[in-house]
Amino acid sequence: METADPHADVAMDVEERAEAETGSEAESSVGDDAEDDDLSVLMRAWVNERGAPELLEYEGAALENLMELVEFQTQRIASQPAVVANILRMDVDRVKYLVRSYLRARLAKIERHTAHYLGSPEHRARLSQNELDYAQGFAALEERHLRRSFLDQLDPHLRRLDETAAEGMDMVPRPDLDAAVFCRVRATVGEFQFDASEDPIVMRRNNIFITRYSIVRSLLADGKVELI
């Protein structure tokens, strides 16, 4: 036990230093500036997109900038020595992987709730032009398939795909905005009320919560929290 104690001191020292470092970070209330380059933006957008039940804002600018950079780097590779060329190729491939994963995560949501996203201008605005084309094509295919396989044999008044009855009954499948999400606080929020009937909880940088998506939805849009 005695031999272990000096180790503990060293370890505590490391811990304290880590504490001090994060302490000073926590003081700057704005998110980490260093993480606002296009690559970090898209990386966070990908992770958020995978965590969120609904489609988020499209990070078109970051994505386009990155694709331009990828193009530029690809042209540069040919003139580099083998070692460097290998590294640059790996780097470019990693960015492409990220872009693909991001777009796929979005397509998966669009396929699942096509009618929902096409249904209102507010939701449509979140789709890129390519995604909008895809969604419309997908919806048309699905509708044709349903009509051919059985809808056309039904009475005309039973053929609709987007009926909304009274009492909140709705034919269009919509994302569950109350679904559970895990989030990490990026910039200290301060006291935050999860529910009107509960005491507020202080949200500090790096705190992690599991909660309903709808509760942190606006914090996520403001970049105050990220999903994990």
């Binding site: 950079l69 070692v83 460097v84 990693r94």
Partner: protein, 215 residues
């Protein structure tokens, strides 16, 4: 399908590794090399024996080609891990502080740079202990889950991903039960206010909502 079933449930192991590989580690280059212009910005220059910071994927690549030595991060030392294990084990202790991708980084370094770690065997064993202690604690945490929020600071990305299916579904189920209980309470309240005159409607409802009324 645009994503696989496993991907709808959270991240896959390779995806977590991908994220971890973007984290910086310190290396000591063994060969001279000019600055590298990567998509995320420049790294280097590489001037042995000057330390420099590179993303983990590059460190792994250089290490495999025998072009660098990786400096083990402070938290991956046997002494530090031993202290963390003790702290983690203390009664009522919260989760100890570790990098969000500590498991993936440790895994990568133990795989390619074992010779750069002091006492790699001990590190491996301690990581395993730490992980198991934390898993036990996480399972205990399930008891605290409610339908509103639960704070779980310092859980790492891989640990969260591991509990995501269970915690996520339990959370959603609790939420549905709460909503059901609230409707039931609301109806009971309304029923008592309206008095016996409205009995017929009350009886009708009981048929399709028997789950809520059974409680």
């Amino acid at each position: 399908m645009a994503t696989s079933e496993a991907q709808q449930e959270g991240f896959t192991m390779p995806e977590l590794e991908y994220l971890a590989q973007c984290e910086d580690v310190t290396i000591v280059p063994l060969h001279r090399m000019e600055r590298l212009e990567l998509v995320r910005g420049a790294v280097g220059p590489f001037r042995p024996p000057q330390k420099t910071q590179v993303p983990l994927w590059l460190a792994v690549m250089l290490k495999r080609a025998n072009r660098c030595r990786i400096v083990a991060p402070a938290w991956l030392g046997a002494d530090h891990l031993r202290a963390l294990c003790r702290e983690e084990d203390a009664p009522d202790a919260l989760f100890t502080r570790l990098p969000p991708h500590y498991l993936e980084i440790a895994h990568a370094l133990l795989a390619v740079a074992e010779d750069d770690l002091a006492d790699a065997q001990a590190v491996r064993r301690l990581l395993q202990d730490l992980r198991e202690t934390r898993q036990t604690k996480t399972r205990e945490g399930l008891k605290l889950l409610n339908s509103l929020q639960l704070q779980m600071d310092n859980l790492s990305a891989a640990e969260i991903n591991e509990i995501r299916p269970l915690f996520g579904r339990s959370f959603d189920m609790l939420r549905r039960l709460d909503a059901l209980a609230a409707t039931a309470a609301d109806r009971a309240h309304r029923g008592s206010q309206l008095g016996p005159a409205d009995d017929s409607q009350y009886a009708d409802d009981a048929d399709d909502d028997d789950f809520a009324y059974a409680r």
